[in-house]
C-alpha cells in the first residue's frame, strides 16, 4: 500500500532522513517509532505529499505521490503533528469543508461528516468553535478530518500527544478500530503505545531505518539468544564437567564465586530453550543448582539498542524479513530480569519517553 524507496531529505547540510526504504502492506496498523528528531514527521510529511523529498520516491496505492499527486492524495488521510484546524470554524463546518475539498459527493456530504464525528465522538461539540475546544477534542477533530472520504491509508503523526490517560485509551481504541478497514501508519515516540496498538513496527533512528518487523519478532530476536545464567554449588572443574558440551549451546563461560560456587553463563542457539536440559544434566551429575535465570529482552531494550547514540554500537540495520545473522552481540549487559511482558500492557504503565 505504501512503498517508500531510497527516501532522503536534506535541509542544507543536515540530513533529516537518509536513504529510507520500506513497504507497508494493505491493512493493519504500522507503528513508526523513533526518538525525537529521528525524522518521523519529515517522513510522514513526505508520504503525505506535503514535503518534497531530496531523493527517492513514495508510492501510495500504486501512485507516485509526486508524479500523480491527486490520485495518491485521494487515498491518504493525514493528521500532521499539529492538527491543521481553522479555529474560527466549528468542527461540523470544518469537516464539511475538508469533505468538500476531498471531493465527497454533495449528497453524501452531511452523512460523511456525521460518520466521521460519530467515530471520533465529536457529536457533543459539533457546533462549538474549534478555538474553544480542549486539546483532546481538537486532536479528535484532526483525526476525524483524516477519515473523511474514507481514504485507504491513514497517516497519524503522534496522535496521542498531550492527551490525558482516558483520552489516550479512547484514541488508541479508535486507532485499533481503524486498523480493521484502513492501512494505518502511526508515528510515536512512546514505545508502549506502539507495542499495544501496532501489528508491525518500523524503528527509525537518526533518519535511518533501524528495524522493521512485528513486535513479537523484535522481542524474540533478542530473547531467543539470551544467555541463561546458572549458579552451581560446585567448583569450576565440576561445573565444567557437568555443563560443558550441552546440546544447542553456542558458548559457555565459567567463573568461580565464593563458597565453592561457580557462576555459569550459557548462550543458547537462537530460539533454543536449554533450561530443562541444564536441569537434567545437573541432576544426573548431582550438581546442585542454586539459581537459574534467563534475561529476556523487552521491546524497550531493542528500541534503546537500535536507537543508541553511538552509531557503531550495532552493525547494519536489522530487517526482519531477512532472518540471518546472530543478534544479541554487543548488547548492553544490563537487562530486565526474567518476567513475561504482558501482551496488553496498560497504557499508563512502562511509558518510556525517549
Amino acid at each position: 500500500m505504501i512503498e517508500v524507496s531510497h527516501l532522503t531529505k536534506r535541509y542544507g547540510a543536515h540530513v533529516a532522513v537518509s536513504d529510507l526504504s520500506f513497504t507497508i502492506e494493505k491493512g493493519g496498523i504500522t507503528g513508526f517509532l523513533g526518538p525525537n528528531g529521528a525524522g518521523k514527521s519529515t517522513t510522514m510529511n513526505m508520504i503525505a505529499g506535503c514535503l518534497g523529498p531530496s531523493e527517492g520516491t513514495v508510492r501510495v496505492g500504486g501512485f507516485d505521490v509526486l508524479g500523480e499527486p491527486m490520485k495518491a492524495r485521494e487515498k491518504i488521510g493525514y493528521l500532521p503533528e499539529l492538527p491543521p484546524l481553522y479555529a474560527d470554524m466549528t468542527p461540523r463546518e470544518y469537516l464539511n469543508f475538508v469533505a468538500q475539498a476531498r471531493r465527497v459527493p454533495r449528497a453524501k456530504l452531511a452523512q460523511e461528516t456525521e460518520r466521521a464525528m460519530e467515530r471520533t465522538r465529536l457529536c457533543d461539540v459539533a457546533d462549538r468553535l474549534i478555538a474553544n475546544l480542549s486539546k483532546g477534542y481538537r486532536q479528535r477533530v484532526g483525526i476525524a478530518q483524516a477519515l473523511l472520504g474514507d481514504p485507504e491509508v491513514v497517516l497519524l503523526d503522534e496522535p496521542t500527544v498531550g492527551l490525558d490517560p482516558q483520552q489516550i485509551i479512547e484514541i488508541r481504541e479508535l486507532i485499533r478500530d481503524l486498523g480493521r478497514e484502513h492501512t494505518v501508519l502511526l508515528s510515536s515516540h512512546i514505545l508502549s503505545e506502539v507495542q499495544v496498538v501496532c501489528d508491525r513496527i518500523i524503528i527509525l533512528a537518526r533518519g535511518k531505518l533501524a528495524a522493521s518487523d512485528t513486535a513479537e519478532h523484535l522481542e524474540a530476536l533478542l530473547s531467543g539468544g539470551a544467555p541463561v545464567r546458572v549458579l552451581l554449588r560446585a567448583d569450576e572443574t565440576a561445573a565444567r564437567e557437568a555443563l560443558e558440551g550441552l546440546a544447542q549451546v553456542e558458548s559457555a563461560s565459567f567463573s568461580p564465586e565464593g563458597d565453592g560456587c561457580t557462576r555459569v553463563e550459557l548462550t543458547p542457539e537462537s530460539g533454543a530453550d536449554v533450561r530443562e536440559a541444564i536441569f537434567y544434566r545437573c541432576a544426573e551429575t548431582r550438581t546442585p543448582i542454586l539459581e537459574m535465570g534467563q534475561s529476556r529482552a523487552s521491546l524497550e531494550d531493542v528500541f534503546l539498542e537500535l536507537t543508541a547514540d553511538d552509531p557503531g554500537a550495532r552493525g547494519d540495520s536489522y530487517d526482519g524479513d531477512s532472518h540471518d545473522g546472530t543478534p544479541g552481540d554487543g548488547r548492553p549487559g544490563d537487562r530486565t530480569p526474567e518476567g513475561e511482558k504482558p501482551e496488553e500492557a496498560p497504557p499508563e504503565e512502562t511509558e518510556v519517553i525517549l
Binding site: Y11, N45, A48, G49, C50, L51, G52, P69, M70, K71, R73, E74, I76, Y78, P80, E81, L82, P84, L85, Y86, A87, D88, M89, E93, F97, V98, Q100, A101, R102, R103, Q145
Partner: protein, 288 residues
C-alpha cells in the same frame, strides 16, 4: 476550489474583516459623495472614486495579510498540501473569495449614481466605467497582497510589506517625474532593473548560470539598443514607470476613457501575481 472559496468567504464574514472592509470603504465614499456631489453639486460620481482610491492602501493589506501567512503560522497549510486539490485551485479560491468581499461595497457604490440622478443629469457611463476601473484596481492590488502574504508567515510583516508595495505603486507616477530624463540615466536604471530581475531569478531557481545568462542577455540587449538609438532612451524609464502604475491606469477610467489596454494590463498583473503566488507555495513544499 469552490470549497476553499466558500471557506474563505465564510471566514471573512464570520469575523469582522469583511464587514470592516465594506464599512470603511462606504464611510469614506459617503463622506466624499456628500462633499463632492451633494454639497459641491458636481454631477460626476467618478470624482468620489478617484478620491477614495487611496483607501486601498489600508484596506488591501487588511484583507490579504491573513490569507497565506496565517495558514503557514498555524500549520494549516499542511492540510492544503495534503488535500487532493491543486495549489492553483487553493490560490484561485482564496483570490475569488477576496474579489467577492470587494464586490460587496462596490455593489453598494453602484447605487450612488442612480440615487444622484434624482437631483439632475449624471453621466452614468463614466460613473460606471470608473467604478469598473475602481474594482479592477482593487483586484490588481489584492493579487499583489496575496503574493506578499505567501512570502512570509507573519501577518504583520505581510501587512507592512504590502503597504510598502502599494505605496510605491501609488506614488509611482509622481516619482516618475523626478526620474532624470537623460537617455544614459534611463539605460543605467533599466540595467539595474535587469540585474534585480536576474537576482530574483537566481533566488527562485538557484541556478547561477541561468540567472547570470538572463542578466547578461538583458543588459547586452539594452546596451545594443542604446548604441543603435540612444534618443529612444530619453525619458524612457520615467515613461515605463508611468505605464506600469496601476493607479495611473485607474485615473484613465476616471477621466472617462474606458481603455481596453488598461483592462488587459490589469488582468495580466493579476495573472502574473497569482502565478507567482502558486509558485511561492509550491516552493514551500520543497524547502520549508
Amino acid at each position: 476550489m469552490r470549497a476553499i472559496m466558500k471557506r474563505e468567504l465564510a471566514a471573512a464574514f464570520r469575523g469582522m474583516t469583511g464587514y470592516l472592509f465594506s464599512a470603511f470603504l462606504l464611510l469614506f465614499a459617503g463622506i466624499y459623495t456628500m462633499a463632492y456631489n451633494l454639497s459641491g453639486v458636481y454631477a460626476n460620481f467618478e470624482y468620489v472614486l478617484d478620491a477614495i482610491a487611496f483607501l486601498y492602501l489600508i484596506e488591501v493589506p487588511i484583507l490579504t495579510m491573513r490569507q497565506l501567512a496565517e495558514e503557514k503560522r498555524q500549520k494549516t497549510d499542511l492540510l492544503l498540501y495534503s488535500l487532493p486539490i491543486r495549489l492553483s485551485d487553493v490560490v484561485l479560491g482564496k483570490y475569488l473569495a477576496m474579489l467577492a468581499v470587494l464586490l460587496a461595497p462596490c455593489a453598494v457604490l453602484a447605487l450612488y449614481p442612480l440615487l444622484l440622478t434624482r437631483f439632475g443629469a449624471v453621466p452614468l457611463a463614466t460613473a460606471y466605467g470608473a467604478l469598473a476601473g475602481f474594482y479592477l484596481l482593487g483586484a490588481c492590488l489584492l493579487s499583489v497582497g496575496l503574493f506578499i502574504s505567501s512570502l512570509t508567515e507573519s501577518q504583520v510583516a505581510s501587512a507592512v510589506l504590502t503597504l510598502a508595495a502599494l505605496l510605491i505603486l501609488y506614488f509611482m507616477s509622481a516619482l516618475a517625474s523626478f526620474v532624470p530624463a537623460e537617455a544614459f540615466a534611463s539605460l543605467i536604471a533599466l540595467i539595474a532593473l535587469v540585474a534585480l530581475f536576474a537576482f530574483a531569478l537566481y533566488r527562485l531557481s538557484r541556478n547561477p548560470i541561468v540567472a547570470i545568462g538572463a542578466g547578461l542577455l538583458g543588459a547586452g540587449g539594452l546596451c545594443a539598443w542604446y548604441a543603435a538609438d540612444s534618443a529612444a532612451f530619453a525619458g524612457l524609464f520615467g515613461r515605463i514607470m508611468e505605464q506600469l502604475s496601476v493607479f495611473e491606469r485607474f485615473y484613465g477610467f476616471v477621466d472617462g476613457v474606458f481603455d481596453l489596454t488598461s483592462v488587459v494590463y490589469d488582468l495580466s498583473i493579476i495573472g502574473v501575481f497569482l502565478f507567482l503566488t502558486v509558485q511561492s507555495l509550491e516552493k514551500r513544499r520543497w524547502s520549508e
